[in-house]
Each structure stands twice: as structure tokens, then as C-alpha cells.
């Protein structure tokens, strides 16, 4: 049996498959289908200091090989997460990543501080939600912005800190370098790509927010490319996500330089996708004589 364990920023995940933020809630729903302990970890629904109602519907629509969403960070607030969700979630035998979003530096810091004395394993700093004007993306599209918010949160956050990057930038590796220099322990990429669809009969955008974030298999090649470019530049671990729906996709992402992967939209197609990917990854390693994940990470042989 190949060794699927991976250590990211001092946190040991039993396997490299993490449920991506926004696709897995706080674990309760899919926890009815399989023990959450089967997963390496869960990145929880994006959480803000105060609760948010989210965007008006429609919030989702299918697109070729993917989907658009503009949920708008609907969440019950960080206190509710700590009081109502975390006591249960932290007993499920998987690593818990709190995904933190906000509109001001102060909000991010206040929420991060509240998480310091909780059993979460890691904070994922969400500065890349494209669907809320004040959802943090204003910090995520310039290197200066990334550095500023990361530095501020780093100062107050006692947990390992991973910064989730937006692909809606000129050079994502510059954002990763900025996060690294500001003290991030890891980066995760990519968040969704901003997209739009229009109903040609009504001439209305299908998503009520007009634009939404594109995810699913359609974005995999973009994610692979961005992870590859980023992993060559930073020393901190890169967690790769964006369109992974099969074990082969996961292997590609590892070869591109990701130390672990997140699975999101594929869960909507198949709720068991994370387990299928984990098992397929183990089978691939067995079949090709790879004994540990580190033999795959960054193992692409570019021309």
C-alpha cells in the first residue's frame, strides 16, 4: 500500500484529497454518505466575521464541462461556525481547514483571532471570491494587496496559514510570492475564473449576479498551468485545485507541483468523487511503483 500521507505546513493529512471550500458545506451533508475520516481534510464553506445572506438566485448554472456559481459567501458567521459546527466537525477524524473571507483587514483579523483557540487545523485565507464585491478579492488581485492582507492576518493568526489565490490576475505566481514573503505557510490555487452566460431569449444573464465563478473540468488545464508556474517560484507548499474529477487529474496536479489537492465541483457530479480519486491515486501509485506522494510532486518533465 503506497504512502498517501502528506504534511502541509506542519499539518499531517492522512491522504492528499481535501474537499474544496464551498462545495462541502461544513461536512454534515456528505457525512451521511461516508465517514469524513476517509478524507485528508475538509476546507469549510467560506466564513466571514458576521453572517452573510448570500446573493439572490439563480446562483448556479451548468456550462460546457463545468458550472458557474455566485453564491455570494452565504454563511452563518465565524462564531456560529465555532459554536455549532466545529464541535461536531472536529470529532470526525479529518483535518479541518477554516476558509476565511472578509471585506476589511479588520474583519479578517478579528475572525482569524476567534479561530486561534479552536480545534481547527489550518486557516485558508480566501482573498479570491469573485462573486462578492467586498468578499476579499480586492486584496487578491495585486501583489501589494496579497502581501498586505497576508501580513496582517499572519500577525494575529496562530494557526498554519494558507492563502487561496485568484486566477483572475496577470501572473498568479507573483501573488504566491507575495503571500510567501508575507508569512503564508502554503498557497492554494485556483479559485474560480470569472465567467458569464446569457439567456438569449430574455437577454438576461443566467446568474442573478450577472457574473459568476467558473469551475469544473473546463478549468483543469488552466489550474495545472498556474500550479506549475507557481510551484517553480515558491518554496512553501502549493495545494492544487480546479477541475479535478478523476485520479488521473489528481496525478497531473501533483506532477505540476501540488503537494495536495482539493476536489470541489466533481462532488456535485459524484458525491463519492473524493474517495474515488483517493483510491485511484493509490492504485496508480501501486501500478507505477511510486511509494510515496513526494515522488510525484513536481515530477513533470517539461520539454
Amino acid at each position: 500500500m503506497p504512502d498517501l500521507r502528506v504534511n502541509i505546513a506542519g499539518v499531517e493529512f492522512k491522504n492528499p484529497v481535501i474537499a474544496a471550500s464551498g462545495t462541502f458545506g461544513f461536512g454534515r451533508e456528505y457525512g451521511q454518505l461516508y465517514p469524513l475520516s476517509e478524507l485528508g481534510g475538509i476546507s469549510c464553506k467560506g466564513t466571514t466575521l458576521h453572517k452573510r445572506p448570500g446573493n439572490p438566485p439563480p446562483r448556479v448554472t451548468e456550462t460546457p464541462a463545468g458550472m458557474l456559481n455566485a453564491v455570494g459567501l452565504q454563511n452563518p458567521g465565524v462564531e456560529h461556525f465555532i459554536q455549532e459546527d466545529l464541535p461536531w466537525l472536529s470529532q470526525q477524524g479529518t483535518k479541518i481547514i477554516a476558509n476565511l473571507a472578509g471585506s476589511t483587514v479588520e474583519d479578517y483579523c478579528a475572525a482569524a483571532e476567534k479561530l486561534n483557540d479552536t480545534p481547527i487545523d489550518m486557516v485558508e485565507l480566501n482573498i479570491s471570491c469573485p462573486n462578492v464585491k467586498e468578499g476579499g478579492v480586492q486584496f487578491g488581485v495585486t501583489a501589494q494587496g496579497v502581501e498586505g492582507i497576508t501580513k496582517a492576518v499572519r500577525r494575529v493568526c496562530k494557526k498554519p496559514l494558507m492563502v487561496k489565490l485568484s486566477p483572475n490576475v496577470t501572473d498568479i505566481s507573483e501573488m504566491a510570492l507575495a503571500a510567501e514573503s508575507a508569512g503564508a505557510d502554503a498557497v492554494s490555487l485556483i479559485n474560480t475564473l470569472t465567467g458569464m452566460r446569457i439567456d438569449i431569449r430574455t437577454r438576461r444573464p443566467i446568474i442573478r449576479n450577472n457574473t459568476g465563478g467558473l469551475s469544473g473540468p473546463a478549468v483543469l488545464p488552466v489550474a495545472i498551468r498556474m500550479v506549475w508556474q507557481t510551484a517553480q517560484k515558491v518554496k512553501i507548499p502549493v495545494v492544487g485545485l480546479g477541475g479535478i474529477s478523476t485520479a488521473e487529474d489528481a496525478v497531473e496536479m501533483l506532477l505540476a507541483g501540488a503537494s495536495a489537492i482539493q476536489v470541489g465541483t466533481a462532488i456535485f457530479t459524484d458525491p463519492y468523487a473524493p474517495l474515488r480519486i483517493r483510491d485511484g491515486l493509490a492504485a496508480f501509485m501501486e501500478e507505477t511503483g511510486v511509494k510515496s506522494l513526494s515522488e510525484l510532486v513536481g515530477g513533470v518533465r517539461p520539454w
Partner: protein, 255 residues
Amino acid sequence: MKPFDSQLCKIVSAKALTADVFDFRVSAPQLAEQASPGQFAQILVPGHTLRRPISICGIDKARGQLRFVFQVRGQGTRELAAFRAGDSLEILAPLGKGFPLDTSKKTLLLGGGIGVPPLLGAAAALGEQAVAVLGFRSQGAVILEEDFRRTGARVLVATDDGSYGFQGLVTDLAAGESFQVLMACGPGPMLKGAKSLAQAKGAEGYLSLEQRMACGVGACLGCAVALLDEDGQEYYGHVCKDGPVFPMEQVKEEL
């Protein structure tokens, strides 16, 4: 036992009811065992990222079957309609909250178009306590009339153009009925009329809603619907988990 699950289910029979409405029975003993009227399924159409939410039309626990009657609305449902008996479909079910059924109460079932199928399960459970008032565009679009009659329910049919049954709205056709509970599924304006009718009669009312959906289980928060809490404050609930059937007082949405 899992309250819902995704399983590969063999299609037992597949037929067309009209040019664009299809009737599938699938073998799904475990899913059928746990299903109740008004719930729905997320059906995977191979090659598509998002599953199609389809209401459960019939539950046959003895045979271990679920029945789905769905309309072709776009590319996904068009591909779904091409499946045949003997093929298999990946089905996530049963999902959501169905109709709260009380056989001691006279119940009006109000269905419009493709909103008719999810009410059949309720009619089967209520039998003679149910009056089903079903509306369609025209005679060619009428579906499931005989199925409703077989449940023991009294059945009235309306068409928009008067080519079959009563000409006009189901709410007009049902206006003379006396009932304690109303359950409705159909287009927005019909649901609005249903709510007014239930209020006028002092009856309880339940509306089955639809919305563009992704996960189907309450994890992604995609299928938002504006609801009112007990204090009348507006908030976004979700069709997949809080519904698809909602007490009418909760529904804030401009239907």
C-alpha cells in the same frame, strides 16, 4: 442506513407520455424504501457536470421501484430522454422534504404542467381524501389523469385552450372545492393563485418550488429561495434541503 445515496439504477421501463414528457421506472429498492411523496432525485446525465433534479412521481416499495415523469427542458433532459429500458442511471435520492401528508384531512392537490407528477405520490397516499385539479396547456399535454383516478382521488382537469376539460385556470376550477389542506406544484403564477385560494379558504398550504441546483443535498447553497422566518425576516433558504415543499407562509419569493 444512509438517508439518501447515489446508486446505479436499472431502468425497468421508459416511455414517452407526450412529445416532450417521459415516464421512467427504475429499480432502486433501497432508495424507494426511504422515499416519500414530494421528494426528488438528482439524476446524472453522463458527460454533464451537474445532475438534473427530477421530482419523484411514484414510489413502489413492494417492487422496489421509483418512477420519474420529466419534461425535456434543455440539452441534459433531452439526453436523459434517450435512455431506454435496460440502461442504467446514477441516481442520488431521495432528497429534500416532501409533502406532509395527513389522511384525516381533505386535501386539494393543485398541479400545473410538469408540476403534476410530484403530486401523484401524495394522491396515492391520500386516496379518497384527495381532490386533484390538474392543469395543462392543451389536450395533447394532459398526462397522468388515469394514474390519479386509480388512486381513488377525485380528478378534475383544466386546459388553457379548453381543448379538454375545463377551460381556464386550475385555481378557478378548484374554487368551489372545500378542503383543509392545499398542496401545489406548478409555474409561479399558479402557485401565487394557489396561495391566495388556500388563504381564502383558511386552509393549510404547501408549495413545491424549483430552482437551478448544484449539489442537491444542502452543501453548496446554490438553489437559494427567499423565505420568511418566524419573525417575518427575510433570509435565503435552499430548495434542495429546506424544500422543495415549503409551508406557503414561509415563501417570500415573488412567485
